[in-house]
């Protein structure tokens, strides 16, 4: 059952599909244009806890706790010719599914939940890394364009099986 108009749903859905394409094609600068100036980009640390203690997401410890300014630094770094971790670049595929769109708290915002499977290979070594997560996003329409206002990446991992997080999720 849709919680928004069909048009709004498809706009939000299309935003996520386009964003995945931009990231997989490694257009990091273009991706940065898709986030708002006051973006919050968060990936909390998850701890293996008992059922009664909740889902184990830390409120203080993060893998990413980014603002537009710090994302800018990360993109600038990738743009230098010395970002060894991404040169040669990772080959990634962002699989985005289970997209649910609800009205946001503000009129020009929507709350979007999606499932993410990030598949990644690097270098010439065998093997691949997989990161699975739910993403809770807030998208805001600015001058007719949807932009990412907030993203919380909720990992299905208490332990990351990847040697670094040099790509965006």
């Amino acid at each position: 059952m849709l919680e928004t108009s069909v048009e709004t749903y498809w706009e939000a859905y299309s935003f996520l599909m386009h964003e995945a394409e931009v990231l997989d094609e490694r257009h990091e600068r273009e991706w940065l244009e898709m986030v708002t100036d006051d973006v919050e980009y968060l990936m909390p640390v998850r701890v293996n806890r008992e059922r009664g203690e909740g889902d184990g997401f830390s409120e203080e410890a993060f893998y990413f706790e980014e603002t537009r300014g710090s994302l800018e630094l990360r993109v600038r770094r990738i743009e230098t010719e010395y970002a060894w971790a991404e040169d040669p670049p990772s080959r990634t595929r962002h699989f985005v599914t289970n997209v649910r769109v609800a009205p946001g708290e503000k009129e020009d915002e929507v709350a979007v939940r999606s499932n993410l499977l990030l598949y990644r290979t690097r270098g010439s070594a065998p093997g691949h890394d997989i990161i699975s997560a739910e993403r809770k996003d807030i998208l805001r329409k600015e001058e007719g364009q949807w932009k990412l206002r907030k993203r919380v990446i909720l990992l299905d991992h208490h332990l990351l099986e990847t040697h670094n997080l040099s790509v965006f999720l």
């Binding site: 410890a61 603002t67 300014g69 630094l73 990360r74 970002a83």
Partner: protein
């Protein structure tokens, strides 16, 4: 894999040690070799002190965290009287893993298998159907209480354990390195607190590569971390900013000092600067004030490292200082799990705590813009270290040997040995000498 019928792992290590001592070269094979990993588990990780947790991770009675030494799981608990225990996480009845959550608060641990119940001091408290199963006298509860780690000691908030009951006291083991660790641990009388929980991630890289990098590799920053200088994360004028400094070997450990503009103190808030100048001793303050240097990175042998730095979190932003503690936990030859904590002075301003953690995240940890590239190096070294060529390939650890002498004792206020440059390999060689010392301990060469 090294498999030569006439030459065992010990002989290879013996030769490697000799070549390091005599020529300042290291056999690349020691970076990644299964038979050497087996020895490391027995002769290093089962023999000496291993860091498990920071006291502030379990501040309240009943708090616990789960930690490991190689394959041995331990529950680090704080009991109802505030005492800390390190308990082997195995029920003495049928060997089931007692605690299966990584952190929490519990007065008791109940085994899921048959229901034996232990207090958070490790004492066996309850046995279901005790008389039916064990007769009218019941079970000897002391005999079947949880086993504590053979040794547990705390050094300035750092909780260590050892599987070796005869290990020397922790303070003696830290030894002269304590003078240098104070810069990380003693900046405020209020002590440090861990921000949240540690980041954990798996890296296909050997633990020793990270440990030797952190003990004193100032040389790599101008190449490995160039991107962060260009991007304005590391706010320095020249890529060679770490050329000048002081490298230290102290006890079995070592560290590297980094300079700061006089009076800047890594850009710490004034309240922390005041407390550090108050809380550290006269000689330590002399180093801060006169030399304008502070320890940047350090390793306490074998796998506990420290990093103290100051980096920007916004474009064109100011540097913000932070402190991260990490362990390089081996999970096999050429593979480790990294645990990385960010700590901050308990009495620091709240906003500073948040920004300090963000400065850490921007630069270190799994997503850190510096550590990303360290990961690329360490996993690459490990990958090419796996082959047959590495068994006959010797690596250069000679920087400084030709032209750098230690600072005379009367010109350096700290203990251990201080070298007046940073592009040197004295601390790294010290790491490997210590490593061979442990691995070959008890081996008589015959």
């Amino acid at each position: 894999m090294i498999e030569q019928p006439t030459q065992g792992t010990y002989e290879i290590l013996q030769d490697a040690r000799q070549t390091l001592e005599e020529e300042g070269k290291l056999l690349a094979k020691v970076y990644n070799e299964p038979s050497i990993f087996e020895l490391e588990a027995k002769k290093i990780f089962s023999k000496t002190w291993i860091f498990l947790a920071h006291e502030s991770e379990i501040p309240w009675p009943g708090d616990y965290v789960l930690r490991r030494i190689i394959n041995d799981s331990f529950i680090v608990t704080r009991d109802e009287d505030g005492e800390i225990h390190v308990l082997f996480n195995m029920c003495k009845h049928r060997g089931m893993q007692l605690c299966r959550s990584d952190a929490g608060n519990a007065s008791h641990f109940r085994c899921p298998y048959h229901g034996y119940t232990f207090s958070n001091t490790g004492k066996l408290q309850g046995v279901p159907f005790e008389k039916e199963a064990y007769g009218p006298e019941g079970l000897d509860k002391d005999e079947y209480s949880m086993t504590a780690a053979p040794k547990m000691e705390i050094y300035k908030g750092l909780i260590f354990a050892s599987l070796n009951p005869d290990v020397p006291p922790l303070e003696e083991y830290i030894g002269d390195m304590g003078w240098y660790l104070d810069f990380y641990l003693e900046k405020s009388p209020a002590g440090l607190e861990v921000i949240g929980a540690p980041q954990r991630w798996i890296m296909p890289a050997d633990w020793k590569l990270a440990a030797e990098n952190f003990i004193g590799d100032g040389y790599h920053t101008q190449s490995t971390h160039m991107s962060t200088i260009k991007a304005g994360i590391m706010r320095v004028k020249s890529p060679a900013y770490l050329k000048e400094g002081v490298q230290i070997t102290a006890s079995k450990h070592g560290c590297l000092f980094m300079g700061f503009p006089p009076g800047n103190y890594f850009n710490y808030p004034q309240s922390i600067v005041d407390s550090m100048l108050e809380n550290l001793n006269e000689e330590q303050v002399e180093v801060l004030k006169e030399n304008s240097i502070m320890p940047l990175n350090a390793t306490v042998f074998p796998n506990l490292s420290f990093l103290h730095s100051s980096m920007a979190i916004e474009a064109e932003g100011q540097s913000i200082p932070y402190f991260t503690l990490r362990i390089w936990q081996p999970i096999g030859a050429g593979k480790m799990e990294i645990w990385s904590w960010c700590l901050v002075e308990q009495d620091a301003p709240e906003e500073f705590k948040k920004n300090s953690n963000r400065a850490f995240l921007t630069t270190f940890g799994a997503s850190g813009t510096l550590e990303q590239d360290d990961a690329e190096n360490w996993s690459g070294q490990t990958r090419v270290g796996a082959g047959e060529m590495a068994a006959q390939h010797y690596l250069n650890y000679s920087a400084g040997s030709a032209h750098v002498e230690p600072i005379p004792e009367d010109e350096w206020p700290g203990p251990g040995t201080a070298y007046p440059k940073n592009y040197v390999d004295f601390a790294q060689r010290h790491f490997w000498q210590t490593y061979f010392h442990f691995l070959l301990d008890g081996y008589n060469g015959s």
